[in-house]
């Protein structure tokens, strides 16, 4: 389980015992980066599943490992100057193909085609020297052997589909000539031009105005319905999660601490960190005189992750479980209800009681 | 009338013979350092295909090396700068005097022979030496018959007269050559030159009774007039073709070669003159088909080309310091060198008009104090000069070996110096010594002298000035010397023509002292010396003249007016593949360019 990934292997064939059951299945994914200061364990044993047509939202603080996870799925860690140093292990199954052990060129062929990604800041994420149309054309022609004229038509089509007015003219504009919202739409157009079955959106609305935010989220939802793609939405904003997610995965310290359907996460959260996230979210239906309840302390160092439960230094309830277990034993994900899991040493009864009596009334 | 010499920035003959390649001294120093390092690793490519090995060191100073009558091929010259002019009437460089004879025949020239045998005058355009009359105030020359220019037209005596008129009397147009004719020809101060004076007669004191006779009437007796006409200024110029300053672009040749192309500042090509007739010219042989002169070639590159046998250094002032070090330590290469005198003296002038040096005993103290070996070392060692003890260098007629202030091993004699110092009533002297700031060897020599003098109680402080202003503004201005307590001045001198008069007059005659641009730095004004010089120049017998020059030398040394330091020498590298190489004293040790040929096709 902890051996380094094998490169140059053929696309992984599922064997009967470990055949993936979901469209996107991540099993015990670990992504470690050796640095001069030590080994950074950005993702340390992450597992989840996602079906087509569904939206999974990965939530967490900065440095929790959300983006690293998405880049790992895309296979982007092994590229570039530092690509040789990355240690990746575990399995990522996309539509029956295993990606971690696969030939990098096979993964490249999937990138931008079966799986696509949109990024947080569309201004810096698009090349400033090339017209939008040409960048979309490029994305299309990597995976389809067509003429530039045909690809250009497709690009205009996509721009229209994402709601950009006068797409025939705007196809020749440069990224800096768009407004923030239009730019993000254009990036979405570029990601979707090849009808990907998996769309990963890394904080797609963080850089946008609130009004525009809503439009973008609507767009993503519409497109998902239309193309039936699976969507992984990475965010730190629970409002976005509530709006669009079907399932939520809460990450902390490179690990999953809670996972489940969106309704359950919001109404019956089963982890002290999730309680903390919910408590720090401003809500319109609260008394303004009440103070927000932030989570005490700082996010953990990924080089020196706290022993036992990664959250224990900041958890108000760390002493409740017997003995030293929160400090010494890493909690495993345990089922709470159907599809709802939590990694916490508190008993389910304790968690339900604390939530119902202490936390929920204050929100 | 005494010759006026008001010095401008323009270098004199003596400065030109030490052509300092002034291109960024720091760069030169660095180039020198690098080349020094690398020269040790380099092998000179020996391209010689004719199988002859090097003739031995100094072979060309004794006889013609690689003598051959082989015709054909191209002879290449290279020069690191540009000459003042290729126009024979507008140049003052020894190498141009040498080279221009290929296309401009003067009345007289020097015999192509080795060493000081080359100082002998022979007739060139003239059929024999000049005939003096009227006590040496009138000189008559008869031109050879059948002389033609490159276009076939006849050369007449009028053309020689015109050449002298344009080169000496139109100083606003052609000013780069010497003006001896202007000084010595009768009425020379009144004639306005052929560009302003359009009369048919021109200068009255040059007469051309017929097409082959020319008569010069001087304002004084001058027995060495043959030397004066042995310059390119007497090479004929057809008046109809003269364009003043632009004549240089279309020179009409009277020699064995003519211009094929003239690319200002870059290259000059000469080809055979088809209308040259060997029957009228016992001197020239017209061996190569073509002669090419490449200008502005990097000095280090020239040394490489010379060693590879591909070119001759036109300037003829010797190899660069780095090449010298390499060549001297390599037995094979040394066999291809010629180390010759350059007809010049390196000396220290003592200001005879400044206290306490107006007292001869104080001057003698200076003579004895100086360690000449240290000076020789500072100047570059024995290769660059022999220790000097007389005014005249050994290759000038009139030289006689003598050493009035001999010291043991020429290292100086502090005791004797102190004796003479006491005799002139001093225990210490404080004075200033001048030197040229852009000549490192001169600075080093002056430093060596300062150290020698200190031991004897004479404290000299160095004052440095750039060569361009040395004579016009500082050392050559007697008043400035007096005002600034300058008792000692570094100097180098080579004569304009190789005779005692040519050498001594400008530096020892009282009349030569000028208010600025002075070359008689010692301000030596001895009545007996002055009279001797004037008598000599009026004496017809050569041996008698030479004896008088020797006498002048002795008197000068007895009066201790200057301290001779070294007899200047050049180190030339004799390139393989060239024929008829002979080093001649007439042109400061350069190879005689008249008949050099090539074995390469």
């Amino acid at each position: 389980m902890t051996e380094l990934s094998k490169t140059g292997a053929a696309v992984g064939e599922p064997s009967p015992s470990n055949a993936p059951t979901a469209f996107l299945e991540v099993r015990d994914l670990k992504v470690h980066f050796p640095t001069d200061d030590g080994l950074v364990k950005s993702v340390d044993g992450l597992s989840f599943q996602l079906e087509k047509g569904k939206t999974l939202s990965i939530v967490g603080e900065s440095g929790s490992g959300k983006s690293v996870t998405s880049l790992a799925i895309m296979g982007l860690h092994r590229l570039g100057a530092r690509g040789k140093n990355v240690q990746m292990s575990g399995e990522i199954w996309l539509d029956g193909k295993e990606l971690v052990g696969a030939d990098p060129d096979e993964v490249r062929k999937l990138r931008g085609h079966e799986m696509a990604m949109i990024f947080q800041d569309p201004l810096s994420a698009m090349h400033p020297y090339y017209k939008i149309g040409n960048q979309i054309v490029e994305a299309y022609r990597v995976h389809h052997d067509v003429s530039k004229k045909v690809a250009r038509k497709r690009a205009i089509e996509m721009l229209d589909r994402v709601g950009i007015p006068e797409p025939g003219k705007r196809v020749d504009s440069y990224p800096h000539e768009f407004s923030g919202g239009m730019r993000q739409r254009a990036m979405i157009a570029m990601a979707l031009v090849n009808n990907p079955e998996l769309l990963i959106a890394d904080e797609p609305t963080t850089a946008l105005d609130v009004t525009v935010q809503a439009q973008i989220l609507d767009l993503i939802r519409d497109l998902q319905k239309e193309f039936g793609s699976a969507v992984v939405l990475i965010t730190h904003d629970l409002g976005v999660v509530a709006e669009i997610a079907d399932e939520v995965l809460v990450m902390y310290g490179g690990r999953c601490v809670e996972r489940g359907p969106v309704d359950e996460i919001f109404e019956q959260p089963q982890h002290p960190y999730t309680w903390g996230l919910l408590g720090s979210m401003p809500r319109i239906d609260r008394e303004t005189s009440d103070r927000l309840i932030p989570v005490k302390g700082q996010p953990p160092s990924l080089i020196n992750v706290p022993s036992g439960c990664a959250f224990h230094p900041r958890c108000p309830y760390a002493d409740i479980p017997k003995g030293d277990v929160t400090r010494t034993v890493r909690p495993e994900l345990q089922q709470v209800a159907g599809g709802h899991f939590s990694a916490c040493h508190l008993s389910q009864e304790d968690r339900t009681r604390i939530w119902t009596e202490e936390i929920a009334p204050k929100l | 009338m005494r010759p006026q010499r008001e010095f401008s920035k323009f270098p004199t003959m003596e400065e030109k013979q030490t052509i300092m390649r002034r291109s960024g001294l720091a760069a030169v120093a660095a180039i020198g350092t690098v080349s020094l390092l690398l020269a040790g690793c380099s092998k000179a490519e020996d391209d010689s295909t004719d199988g002859t090995k090097a003739a031995g060191a100094n072979a060309a100073t004794k006889d013609v090396v690689n003598a051959s009558t082989q015709k054909g091929g191209t002879v290449t010259y290279e020069y690191s700068d540009v000459p003042d002019s290729f126009d024979p009437g507008n140049t003052y460089y020894a190498y141009m005097y040498n080279f221009s004879r290929l296309y401009a025949r003067p009345l007289m020239t020097f015999k192509p022979a080795a060493g000081d045998k080359g100082n002998e005058l022979v007739p060139d355009l003239a059929e024999s030496a000049g005939v003096p009359s009227d006590g040496g105030k009138t000189w008559t020359y008869k031109l050879r018959s059948g002389l033609k220019y490159q276009d076939g037209t006849a050369i007449t005596s009028k053309d020689v007269k015109y050449a002298v008129e344009r080169s000496n009397f139109a100083r606003d147009v052609l000013s780069l050559g010497p003006n001896y004719f202007q000084q010595f020809l009768d009425g020379g101060d009144k004639y306005k030159g052929p560009y302003k004076d359009k009369s048919a007669e021109g200068l009255a004191s040059i007469q051309t009774p017929d097409d082959t006779t020319i008569v010069f009437k001087l304002n004084r007796a001058f027995q060495e007039f043959d030397y004066l006409v042995a310059t390119p200024q007497t090479a004929p110029v057809p008046q109809a073709k003269d364009k003043g300053i632009d004549y240089v672009k279309n020179i009409v040749s009277s020699g064995s070669y003519q211009f094929q192309s003239y690319d200002e500042g870059k290259q000059v090509t000469l080809v055979r003159n088809k209308n040259w007739d060997a029957a009228t010219d016992p001197l020239r042989k017209q061996y190569p088909d073509k002669i090419v002169v490449n200008l502005k070639v990097n000095a280090e590159t020239i040394d490489q080309d010379v060693q590879a046998g591909n070119a001759i250094d036109l300037g003829g002032t010797g190899v660069q310091a780095a090449t010298q070090a390499d060549v001297v330590n390599n037995a094979d290469k040394k066999a291809s060198t010629d180390n010759t005198y350059g007809g010049r003296l390196v000396y220290l002038a003592i200001n005879t008009k400044l206290k306490p040096f107006d007292n001869v005993e104080c001057r003698k103290a200076v003579q004895y104090a100086i360690d000449k070996v240290s000076v020789q070392t500072a100047e570059g060692g024995p290769i660059r000069g022999d220790i000097a003890t007389t005014v005249l260098p050994p290759d000038i007629p009139g030289y006689e070996k003598s050493d009035v202030y001999a010291t043991d091993g020429n290292k100086g004699d502090v005791a004797k110096a102190k004796e003479h110092l006491t005799a002139c009533g001093q225990t210490t002297i404080n004075t200033n010594i001048t030197a040229r700031s852009d000549r490192p060897a001169e600075i080093d020599a002056a430093t060596a002298i300062i150290n020698s003098l200190k031991a004897a109680g004479i404290n000299a402080t160095m004052k440095q000035f750039p060569s361009g202003k040395y004579f016009t503004d500082y050392a050559g201005v007697p008043k400035w010397d007096a005002d600034n307590n300058v008792g000692l001045m570094m100097m180098q001198w080579g004569s304009d023509w190789p005779s005692g008069y040519g050498f001594e007059q400008q530096i020892l005659h009282g009349d030569a002292i000028g208010a600025s641009g002075n070359t008689n730095l010692s301000q030596f004004d001895d009545k007996s010396v002055n009279e001797l010089l004037e008598k000599a120049i009026g004496t017809e017998d050569k041996a008698a003249r030479d004896a008088m020059y020797t006498e002048v030398d002795k008197k000068t040394m007895d009066a201790a007016a200057l301290v001779p330091l070294t007899y200047f020498k050049v180190l030339l590298y004799r390139p393989a593949n060239f024929t008829n190489l002979v080093s001649t004293a007439a042109f400061s040790g350069q190879y005689d360019y008249l008949n050099i040929g090539t074995t390469k096709k």
Binding site: L76, R108, V142 | Q4, S8, A30, P178, Y195, N294
Partner: protein, 335 residues
């Protein structure tokens, strides 16, 4: 765009006028401040024993007696409409553009400049191509493998290249490749005459110059690439599934190269004004050598001519560089 170019051209002309004025001032005013008179200035142009009449004639020919502004005015007029110089038996008609007439070398300045410019251009352009290609290539490879043996060793060589002065590398190249092992030619011929020998003779000079500059370009490219390859749009390009080589060249190098091209334009412009030391070392009869000769002779017309030419090249290079940058980067607005 047109109005921008017009404005810049107008500014350039003003600048060139200022350059001439300053050069004039340096040449004539400074000696005056040092106490030199017009007579002494004129004397530099004559040989020995000048009489008062000679000096007066040269002074009038050179116009040294005129007040400075008049001399300057004559010079400007000459550029536009030509000038005439009376030399006694001949008269020189200097056709427009007349950059002056050198009384030392007795040739007009403009023909000298035009005949020497091809040599300097040959030297500069050839070296420029060499250093741009080699510098960028080394820089890209170093940036893609930072800290590797290639990176460290080539950056070390680059440092040496930048530190060694031309009169060292030039002479070294000449000694080794032209004399020690005669690989390259010694006599320059124009390109039109014999391209093979032209290139063959210039090759050591190109290499020496290129060594000096490619070091800078390698370092610039390396740091530019390192920075660019960390940009977000590179990640996006990879996310689109592009092959890595296309990502590096089309997306990375394209962005990193823009500032380098602009530096290149300036360097080339400066070099065209005359690579003085290189031309001297390799005995190339270019504009630089002409300048050196003029400086040694204290001869104003060549100095002025070369200074103006060099200023012109720099100004044009500046303008071209700005236009190029605007063409390369769509975010830049010409103002």
């Amino acid at each position: 765009m047109i109005s921008y170019i017009l404005r810049r051209t107008f500014a350039a002309v003003i600048l060139l006028l200022v350059v001439t004025a300053v050069t004039f001032a340096i040449f004539f005013l400074l000696p005056r401040f040092a106490g030199q008179t017009a007579d002494q200035l004129a004397q530099q142009y004559i040989g020995k024993s000048p009489s008062a009449a000679d000096i007066a004639a040269v002074k009038s020919n050179l116009g040294l007696d005129d007040p400075l502004y008049l001399q300057y005015w004559h010079f400007i007029k000459g550029i536009v409409s030509g000038a005439t110089y009376d030399l006694g038996p001949t008269t020189v008609h200097c056709n427009a553009p007349c950059f002056g007439y050198s009384f030392k070398t007795h040739v007009e300045v403009w023909p000298q400049l035009t005949s020497r410019l091809p040599v300097t251009i040959s030297l500069a352009a050839g070296a420029a191509v060499m250093w741009l290609v080699s510098g960028v290539a080394i820089g890209v490879i170093s940036a893609l493998k930072p800290g590797s043996f290639f990176d460290r060793s080539f950056m070390g060589v680059a440092l040496a290249g930048v530190s060694l002065p031309m009169f060292f590398t030039g002479n070294l190249a000449l000694l080794l490749f032209t004399y020690q092992w005669p690989i390259f030619g010694r006599t320059y011929v124009p390109f039109t005459e014999n391209p093979a020998q032209w290139a063959n003779t210039l090759f050591p000079a190109w290499c020496s110059l290129a060594l000096l500059y490619s070091a800078i370009y390698a370092r610039l490219t390396r740091s530019g690439m390192l920075e660019t390859m960390n940009e977000d749009f590179i990640r996006t390009a990879r996310a689109k599934g592009l092959r890595e080589r296309k990502v590096v060249v089309r997306h990375g190098l394209r962005a990193a190269l823009t500032p380098i091209i602009t530096v290149f334009g300036m360097d080339l412009g400066l070099l065209l004004g005359g690579a003085l030391i290189t031309e001297t070392v390799f005995s190339l009869h270019g504009v630089g050598e002409y300048a050196v000769q003029g400086i040694k002779d204290n001869d104003l017309p060549p100095i002025l001519g070369v200074t103006l030419l060099a200023a012109l090249f720099v100004v044009v290079a500046n303008l071209l560089v700005d236009l190029l940058y605007a063409a390369a980067d769509p975010r830049v607005r010409l103002s």
